[in-house]
Symmetry: C2
Subunit: 345 residues, 2 copies
Amino acid sequence: MSRPRRPGPEGRQPTIKQVAERAGVSPMTVSRTLAGGSGVRPEVQQRVLEAVQKLGYHRNENARSLRPGHRSGLIGVAITNLANPYYGTFALGVEEVAATYGRRIILGNTGEDADRETQLVADFIGRQIEGLIIVPSASSADHLGPDRIGGLPAVLASRRVYGLELDTVVLDDVGGAYRGTRHLIESGHRRIGYLGNVLSVFTGQRRFSGYERALTEQGLAVHPELVQRGQQDVESAGAALARLLDSDDPPTAIFSANNRNTIGALSEIGRRIRGGTDPSRLPALVGFDDFELADLSPVPLAVIAHDPHQLGAEAARLLFHRMESTDPVPARTIELPVTLRIIRP
Amino acid sequence: MSRPRRPGPEGRQPTIKQVAERAGVSPMTVSRTLAGGSGVRPEVQQRVLEAVQKLGYHRNENARSLRPGHRSGLIGVAITNLANPYYGTFALGVEEVAATYGRRIILGNTGEDADRETQLVADFIGRQIEGLIIVPSASSADHLGPDRIGGLPAVLASRRVYGLELDTVVLDDVGGAYRGTRHLIESGHRRIGYLGNVLSVFTGQRRFSGYERALTEQGLAVHPELVQRGQQDVESAGAALARLLDSDDPPTAIFSANNRNTIGALSEIGRRIRGGTDPSRLPALVGFDDFELADLSPVPLAVIAHDPHQLGAEAARLLFHRMESTDPVPARTIELPVTLRIIRP
DNA sequence: CTGTTAGCGCGTTCAG
DNA sequence: CTGAACGCGCTAACAG
């Protein structure tokens, strides 16, 4: 059985006109039937639906959204790294809330690249999204300014962008990092290393300041040689920890400011244990972001846990609230709580 | 500084007409300028671009795609679980190849739900996608039949659907499961449990048959009481392993047919070790799908490794090949190799 | 170099 | 109950 040729001319989708022709009615009757059928004789509806079936007709949403008063039903979601389960779960949170509002999400990956982000947002707008949820890749505000996105409802998630008056959902980065670091100090550690993002990233700056605060508050110095910033992936995070551990006076504990760094650190720790290093000579760890298999940690471990799904859902709620309110609402920032979860004392 | 009102009437995006008016030219001149500007006086272009800037104008892609000959530039991607990093990475592979063809992806999550999948595909088509890549949620073919999607180029990934003549990219499920199980047998195990998907799922059926083959080939029986199927998430997978381990004659090794089951099993193993169980009394493990932190396994572990990114990229290549070929190409199936990676002997 | 015309697929409005 | 006309935003083809 050979695959049938595409019904429309030029390989396009069949149109309402073709359905009408086949059913022996006018396009209007098809439109009405598909809109619920009120005011169309049942027998005619039957004929129309048959034609729809036969042709594999689908309404052209793009054409529909062109009509005044009609909405595209799309929410644009731009995340930095699709391969990171954290953002996948985040997107899922957005999607579920969006679904309850009858909207679909269109998802784009920026790869932490500002240019791609700019492009993505422009394209989203070109596709008539009704709202935008974005995990900004950097602190640059250019492409998100009011003159670029117009009055399009937009929500920033996870990171804030200075100079932008947009609704924002962030985590209690400072508090979480503070409590995590504090936990290590209370466990008796004095030399506590730091693995994290560069300061130009919103969360990088906030989490480092929480780490800093906990140390200085306890009269401990921040040793620059114990601070490794900028590694974004598991592999380089492992290498960064290796540098710390191989130094003359290595840290006895590590505060890791995000998932990727924590995983990288644990992988490196695992490698060393298999290489014969005694686990008791390896650093204790506190990591921002929870992760799977934390239970298997061979060293003392705690995580700053929070729910990416909730982050996404909250961002979506903020967005729809703005979309539905007619009069201007001042930009709000929601800071979601985090909890210190001790996996292994 | 208050957020500016949306320029267009009714909160819609500004149109080419408004830009034209503001620049004191006709819409056509704006269109030409935006298309590269050939045949427009530089000074006029200047005026146009200024108006574009001021109004925050973006071309309406939906309207553009309405025009004959124009394409939407969208590839629809439907995956089963966005929160699973495996599929996130898969989508990334698709996206990257799509980008080289100047296409963007529109991503939808089916949640293993056939109805949502049907809806999703219909909506995708309504939005004039040029091609479809789908990880089918079940073996039901209804909504993907030629009469439903017309001649729309489509590729199935990871799972095949019987009765559909579509391009497909799958893994060497049978071979992988065979080699994994065989590895356990060669390590001296005789009672090897199975954790995996139900047989109605394509991969579930294939991977179980690889497991089965390895056992029978070596003269070992498949013990139904050692087979746990149907658990889809980490938690229930852990519970399934617990059932096996708490039985009268527990297995000494486990073959786990997917990521979720492997993670769940390792979590359960971790729990038991922390509860005081001697690791040597816990089962060795071979899991289909690689995963992060495999290095930390406290029990002997091997994984059937493969690259979801590659799976996505291959699916996309298959899709574009079909999209670009004018004459009908018979449906092809590509089976990607997998490798046995021994993490801990 | 620039503007006018026409039509892509659809649905609201108004006529039959 | 059904159809014809119109226009949503955009651009190819054709004037000027």
